[in-house]
Symmetry: D2
Subunit: 109 residues, 4 copies
C-alpha cells in the first residue's frame, strides 16, 4: 500500500497538481469516480455489466482506489489501519448472532 501511495504522489507531483488537491475536492472526485463505476451497471444486471465491461470495471475501481489513497495521504490516515479498525467497529455494530443472513441495517432492527 505504501508503495502504491508513493507512486500516486509521484504521478501528482510531476504534474504539479497538489495545489488543486484540497480534501473537499478530493472527496468530490472520489464520488465522481464512484459514480462512473456505477454507470457501468445502469439499466443492466450485474451479469450483463460484467460481460460487457470487465476492463472498464477494473479502470473505475482503480480510479476510486486512487482517490482513497490520495485522501488518506493528505489526511495522515493509514488506510490499512483504518480498515481494520472499521471492521472491528462493524463487528460490534453487526454481531454475528443477530445479523447472520440478514440484509437489514443495524438501525432497521
Amino acid at each position: 500500500m505504501d508503495e502504491l501511495i508513493r507512486q500516486i504522489i509521484a504521478f501528482r507531483d510531476e504534474r504539479n497538481w497538489g495545489q488543486f488537491h484540497n480534501p473537499k475536492d478530493l472527496a468530490i472526485s472520489l464520488n465522481l469516480e464512484a459514480s462512473e463505476l456505477l454507470e457501468l451497471f445502469q439499466w443492466k444486471s450485474s451479469k450483463e455489466a460484467i460481460e460487457q465491461n470487465q476492463d472498464k470495471l477494473q479502470d473505475e475501481l482503480a480510479d476510486v482506489l486512487y482517490y482513497v489513497l490520495l485522501m488518506c495521504n493528505e489526511l495522515d490516515i493509514d488506510p490499512k489501519e483504518a480498515l481494520l479498525k472499521k471492521l472491528q467497529k462493524n463487528a460490534e455494530k453487526y454481531p454475528v448472532d443477530r445479523f447472520f443472513g440478514s440484509n437489514k441495517k443495524y438501525n432497521e432492527f
Copy 2:
C-alpha cells in the same frame, strides 16, 4: 492488500452476507459510502471538515476501501495491478508537458 481482503471476506462470510453481494449492489454501496464521506464536507471548508471530523473521515474512507476491495475480489481484479495500470494510462492521457499545473481535463484542451 491480500491480507485485508482475506479479513473482509472472513467478516462477510461469518454473517453469511455473500448472498446479497452481487456486483451491482456493491457498486451502489460503494457510492453510498462515498457520499457519506462527502457529507462531512457539506457547507464546510476542507479545514473546518478536518478539524471537526478527523475520526469520521477515517471511518468513511475505510468504508469506501472496504467496498473497493470487496468488488475487486468478486470480479477477480487485483487492486494493486489495476491501479498501476491505470496510472500508466493516465500518464499517457495527461502528459506532463501539457498538463503541468493545469486543472483542465484531457477533453477540455
Copy 3:
C-alpha cells in the same frame, strides 16, 4: 408540472424505454445525473464553474429534474405535494429560533 410529466412520458414511450425504467435503475440514473452536475464544480470555485459552464449547468439540472419527475410518476407521487409536505417536516426539524444562521444539522446540536 403535470404538463412536464406528460411530455417526459411521451418522450419515453416513443422510444419504448419504459421496459428499462424500474425504480431502482431510475434511482441509479438520478444519482448519475446528479454526479454529472457536481462534476462541473470539480477543482473549481462556484464562480469559476458558473462562468465556464452556465449552459451545461442548465442541462444537468434538467436531467436531474427529468428523473425526479419520472420516478414520481412511477411511484404515484405528486412532486408538488411531496415537496410541500417535506418543507413542513423540515420546518419542525429545523425550528427558526434554534437554526437561524446555523450550518449545523439537526443531529449535530
Copy 4:
C-alpha cells in the same frame, strides 16, 4: 413551479441560510439527497424497496427536488424551460428509429 420556489426561498430566508448556499455546496447537497434516495434500494429489488419505504421515497424525492429548484433559483434558470430544452436535445441525440427499445447510450452504438 414558481410558487414552489417562492416557498423554498421563504423557508431558507426565515433561517438565514442563504449565506451557506453557494452553488458548489448546493450541488454537493443535491448529490447527498440523491444518495439517500438510492440507499432505499440498497440490497433490495425495486419491489421490496417500494413496499418497505413508500413514505421515505416520497421524502427523498422531495429533498432532491428542493435542491434542484434552489439551484435553478440561484443560477437564474427556469426549470421548466430547461427541461423542455433538454428533452428537445435528447430527442435529437436519441432518434426514435435508432433507439426504439434499446438500452444503449448514444455513444455505445
